[in-house]
Symmetry: C2
Subunit: 331 residues, 2 copies
């Protein structure tokens, strides 16, 4: 096995976030799933967009956000995801490449358009996401660059993309390619509703030992294990994955790896503006520490610092220099 | 003459801002006109976008920004401008309508695409704008709703749009419609390079008494009058326009109307993040005071408050409730 040419390669939704502040009354009036991620069709997307206030567009996508954080920290990264051949697809491709991430998945001609996520942000900073998957759901297994996957220390996959059939098949093939090359597979559970739909698949992957690093928040941990008690859930999963990382919002995060446990407090933030991307950037910091061989507690700390940056402003892509931000931590 | 149904109707570029922070070295390397607005063609737009870092998209356009501010303050507004029938056109149309502004100009099918402005923001908060006019330059005079123009207390025009031929013709016709209905015409000079190209036209409009309210910054004042001395420039123009408003960045703003003079200091801002839209939002505050019949000094103060809000964050559309922000001022 040769030294990895890439630190992390990820497969995820290639999506542009359409973000707008809103009040709680609008969330109720539109019947939105507050704080969660709901898949929406064309008609619902039109309805929600019409009801949304003036918005701004910022590239998003869970795994893509994580890579943008990793690249900002100095990791070598590549992304695989499906955009359409349209203006939002150009925006997504520009932003990810401008972040220093290799991205070669060809744009898909014709309908449907590039994916977008309509995000309503309430005054408490909570984000309510409504995802129109568009082209993203047609990522074909043929788009995988298996040589690139084999050359990356870590293959990172987002659970959100387990819903549509083609990307699910692509991700299964990617897992085989990574494992065949002796690389690690990291997986984020993404959302408890995704677990409602695909928990059996996720548990099967874990039972077969195909996941090396598992990211979850405490709700997802409970949904996957069926254990309402946090520590029971941890105990159940930690036995099955080499590294388990569980984020707990303002309560910080917890990890178990190779029998060792570690915990970190949430970073203090002057004002929580928008929590979009908090988990994604936590994963970025953690994985950066991991690929650099740092101790478990330090990986958690890096995750907390990156998550703290992202929730202090609108959008899931960093606004400050993450490498500078974590420099003291890594000194 | 009936009471106006609208406070302000504006004609301007229908444009989406593509904004990214950058360092001064990139400005030099790309040969950009620091702090100014440069018109660019398709090839240059592609070149600059490729060199730009990860960006965010926020609806812009000088007059459209002014209307968004006016609407947020509580004014009744309508916008006339040309988008293409594409995704960025949808974004622009959504954002302006979601701001409560009437917008009925039909999207233009086919090429060119919707206008965009590639904005490089340096660490001092200065914005360097590179405008691809796209569909915006094909606003036909036929798109004017002359009844709407006749029903608005003020017709507001942006100098930027004087460059392309069709909108220039449309604006001339709009001026005639407004004046024919006994309404006021407000004009913003936009940029000193625009004055280099069209100063003779602007001076002719002024000499003919077709401009009731003229907005300029001090560079534009000097370019239009040929007077390097601020007070000489003011004296020369004030004799020809019923209201003259000159903004001076951190030195505040100055106005002369009906023989009366007034001045305002710039609002204190914790950190100047991005000056994009400062003049546009100053005009919004001033015009709001004007259509509400407030004293000249108060109109200036409203302008300064709105400009202060816009330079404290990225983008030229307000992030805080402007009506709330100026409430004490209007109490």
């Amino acid at each position: 096995m040769s030294a990895p040419a890439l630190d992390v390669i990820a497969i995820g939704n290639a999506i542009v976030d359409v973000m707008s502040p809103c009040d709680d009354a609008l969330i109720a009036q539109l019947g939105l799933n507050r704080g969660g991620m709901t898949l929406i069709d064309t008609d619902r997307a039109r309805e929600l967009y019409a009801a949304m206030g003036p918005a701004r567009e910022i590239s998003g996508g869970s795994a893509a956000n994580t890579l943008a954080g990793l690249a900002a920290l100095g990791a070598r990264c590549a992304f695989i995801g499906q955009v359409a051949d349209d203006q939002l697809g150009e925006v997504f491709a520009h932003d990810i490449r401008a972040s220093g991430i290799a991205f070669h998945t060809p744009a898909r001609p014709g309908d449907p358009p590039t994916a977008r996520c309509l995000i309503f942000v309430t005054p408490d900073g909570q984000r309510t996401m409504n995802t129109y998957l568009g082209a993203s759901q047609f990522l074909p297994a043929a788009a995988l660059d298996e040589a690139a996957i084999a050359s990356a220390a870590v293959l990172y996959l987002e659970g959100y993309l387990w819903d549509p059939e083609e990307p699910r098949a692509a991700m299964r093939r990617a897992i085989a390619a990574a494992r065949g090359a002796g690389r690690k597979v990291a997986f984020t559970l993404s959302d408890s509703f995704v677990i409602d739909r695909h928990g059996a698949d996720f548990n099967a992957l874990i039972e077969r030992g195909e996941i090396d690093i598992l990211f979850a928040n405490e709700h997802e941990l409970a949904a996957l294990t069926g254990k309402a008690d946090f520590h029971e859930g941890i105990a159940m999963l930690a036995a099955k994955v080499p590294a388990l990382v569980v984020t707990r919002s303002e309560k910080g995060a917890f990890a178990v790896a190779a029998g060792e446990q570690a915990e970190v407090a949430a970073e203090p933030v002057a004002r929580v503006v928008d929590t979009t991307g908090a988990g994604d950037l936590f994963a970025a910091g953690f994985l950066f520490g991991h690929v650099r061989g740092r101790p478990l507690a330090e990986c958690l700390k890096l995750g907390a610092i990156c998550a703290g940056e992202i929730i202090s402003h609108f959008g899931a892509r960093a606004e400050t220099d993450l490498a500078e931000l974590v420099r003291n931590q890594l000194a």
